[in-house]
């Protein structure tokens, strides 16, 4: 279980570029619950993911993983518990290494690594079995450099690698956004399958309302560094794309209700 308690983060404080990226974000991610984060550009979606991954330390607030305070843990230490897939399909794998070599590194993530050969017969068979489940025919190309694959194939493998050691939390940062529509649909389908099968706690940032409505168990909507909507259980099952658009509109409407608008309404709203 991941608990995010009242975290704040301001980038470039005191400068003209100051950005209050997170302004008191508070939520709990239970095990086995797949949660999507949606929000406008600059709302803090990816910053939340980065805070969990440990890319930076928050200015205030705490992050607990299974009750342990990991707020001040460096990124590499958290990597043993956290799987991550980025938007860029080329970011999660080493292009010049083969599929098998990439995967074997993921299999040993956070473990002690010796000097013996990493890829024995049994390991290769295990890799082939799991890669076969992607139904992309990649099990016959395990020794090809991963850089020769398409973006969709690489993203599917990154997803497999990120979840190989059943992480406590899986972070997906718009991981289908850079793919063509067919590959995006395939990777989205794999994502749902893997998360359901492994019962992972997953946090997915997405701009796709369609994905937000169909894939996860819960939707958090962020705006200006805060969670402004939290759809879960029955609410989540009831929510449709127009409801999400309506929720975005509500937030924008509030911002357009300025002091001069209030003065106008004082005369006009009787």
């Amino acid at each position: 279980m991941l608990e995010i308690k009242n975290i704040h983060k301001t980038f470039f404080p005191g400068t003209v570029n100051e950005v209050k990226a997170l302004q008191g974000v508070d939520f709990t991610l239970e095990d086995g619950v797949f949660t999507a984060i949606i929000g406008t550009n600059g709302s803090g979606k990816s910053t939340v993911l980065n805070a969990v991954a440990g890319t930076f330390e928050p200015d205030a607030g705490t992050i607990l993983l299974d009750g342990r305070d990991i707020t001040h843990w460096p990124e590499f230490r958290r990597a043993a518990f956290i799987g991550r897939v980025f938007q860029n399909p080329f970011a999660g794998t080493a292009a010049e290494m083969s599929i098998a070599e990439n995967i074997v590194m993921a299999m040993r993530r956070g473990k002690r690594r010796g000097l013996g050969p990493a890829l024995g017969r049994r390991t290769l068979d295990e890799i082939a079995d799991r890669v076969r489940e992607l139904k992309m025919g990649l099990e016959d190309r395990l020794h090809n450099p991963i850089g020769t694959l398409s973006g969709g194939q690489r993203q599917a493998l990154t997803l497999l690698m990120a979840t190989w050691l059943r992480p406590k939390v899986l972070l997906l940062d718009e991981h289908t956004a850079a793919l063509d529509p067919k590959s995006a649909a395939k990777v989205a389908e794999l994502t749902s399958e893997i998360i359901a099968r492994e019962k992972l706690a997953a946090l997915m940032v997405t701009h796709s309302m369609q994905q937000a409505v169909t894939m996860p168990d819960r939707i958090l909507m962020m705006h200006r560094g805060r969670v402004v909507e939290d759809y879960r259980d029955e609410m989540k099952r009831r929510v449709r794309i127009p409801d999400l658009i309506e929720a975005f509109n509500r937030v924008t409407k509030r911002e357009l209700f300025t002091e001069p608008a209030a003065a106008m309404l004082e005369r006009q709203y009787l």
Binding site: F257, L265, Y269, L270
Partner: protein
């Protein structure tokens, strides 16, 4: 596929050539429906050069036909031959086929014509109505004071009236106290906005012996016959009708000092506000200022609901020297050369539905809207006159205004 258009009197002939199949059916249907929406309710389809018509094409024709039928339009297919003629006839759609030549204009539906001497874009139909409207008013709440329960009243919305206000449904005012929000009522049908930012507007419809009623803390209700119908349609000269323009026309046509009205029309943009916390929760001594007011009221913030259908109910009067605020009316932007006016208007926004042309009955139009998909919002309309960045007043593209003089209770305004 290629589409060419030519006008014959009141009919628009569309020549279709090529194939009307699955690849083109959607494009074709959307094109024709756009024409219907723009007021072309009498269509001729010239299919002399149509080489193929598939079932998907027939489905598109059916969609256009149904739309036209619902609004009293006409639809005929001319110069069909060979396979297209055969397909239509064997599909049981032979009644669409017409042998009449292109310029044989089908007669317009019966009904009295509009009275002349209205500006272009407008048509005026006097309605056979005796007497004027009587006005009933409830004034138990003003922002942001506590509700005065002694002044509130339960109003039954019978089919002989229309109105607007702030109210809620419940056994007693106390029970309705947390649910007071904007409403519009017409012909025994009520659309009410719950005072909740996430809430969806609800409808209460007269059914059998059931008559909708609301505990009202504000209300302006007119009863009696509507004596005029004014149709309006935007054109190149006048891209849309701001409500003040329509009000000025209604005053001009009726010659009255105070009027009650119902407007149904396609929205160019609505500017308004609605309660998001019930005024029933206000307590004496509470001070609601900016920014707390944002917890009580939601402002549209932009010209909203473009291309939807609005049902606007209001009362208005020409104003003299006295300040109008005491009456519950707000001054309206005055078109050049018109006397000052004040009005109180609420709008219920429905998904767009086409209206028949010419003389139409308010009750039938409203019944169709209220019994269809639920309204998207109910709001109090405002004229955002902030200099520089104000959103202006609400405006419509096309529609109908029914209105009448308030002959009883006008002193309440």
């Amino acid at each position: 596929m290629d589409l060419q258009e030519k006008r014959y009197g009141t009919e628009l002939a569309i020549t279709v050539s090529g194939r009307l199949d699955a690849s083109w059916a959607e494009f074709f249907q959307e094109h024709l429906l756009r024409r219907v929406r723009a007021g072309e309710h009498r269509l001729i389809l010239d299919v002399a050069d149509l080489s193929f018509l598939s079932s998907m094409g027939i489905r598109a024709l059916m969609a256009v036909y149904k739309e036209l039928k619902a609004i009293g339009g006409t639809f005929r297919i001319i110069r069909a031959s060979g396979m297209v003629h055969d397909t239509l006839r064997k599909s049981g759609l032979g009644q669409w086929l017409s042998d009449a030549p292109l310029d044989a204009v089908t007669p317009a539906p019966d009904g009295p014509a509009a009275v002349a001497a209205t500006p272009p874009g407008l048509e005026h139909f006097p309605l056979a109505a005796e007497g004027g409207l009587s006005l009933e008013k409830v004034d138990a709440w003003r922002p942001w004071q506590a509700v005065n329960p002694q002044m509130s009243r339960e109003i039954r919305f019978t089919p002989d009236g229309f109105g607007l206000g702030i109210g809620g449904a419940g056994e007693t005012l106390e029970a309705a106290g947390d649910y007071l929000g904007e409403f519009v009522a017409f012909n025994g049908q009520v659309a009410a906005q719950p005072p909740d930012e996430r809430g969806r507007p609800d409808c209460l419809l007269s059914e059998g012996e059931f008559v909708p009623s609301l505990h009202c803390v504000q209300a302006l209700v007119c009863r009696g016959p509507l004596s005029h119908l004014l149709r309006f349609r935007a054109d190149d000269e006048r891209p849309c009708y701001p409500l003040s323009r329509l009000l000025a026309e209604m005053f001009r046509v009726s010659g009255a000092e105070a009027i009650g009205f119902l407007v149904v029309g396609e929205v160019e943009g609505l500017v308004g506000a609605s309660l998001i916390t019930s005024p029933g929760r206000l307590r004496p001594g509470m001070e609601i200022r900016y920014p707390q007011v944002r917890e009580w009221l939601s402002f549209s913030g932009e010209r909203a609901f473009a291309r939807e259908q609005a049902v606007i109910v209001g009362v208005a009067r020409r104003t003299g020297q006295a300040g109008p605020e005491a009456s519950g009316l707000v001054p309206v932007a005055v078109p050049a050369g018109e006397p000052p006016m004040a009005a109180h208007m609420h709008a219920a926004v429905f998904p767009f539905q086409m209206l028949p042309n010419g003389r139409i009955e308010a009750a039938r139009v409203a019944a169709r809207l209220f019994s269809g998909p639920p309204p998207r919002a109910v709001l109090h309309l405002v004229d955002d006159d902030r200099p520089g960045n104000g959103l202006g007043e609400s405006a419509l593209y096309q529609g109908a205004c029914w209105f009448g003089a308030i002959t009883e209770g006008g002193e309440l305004l």
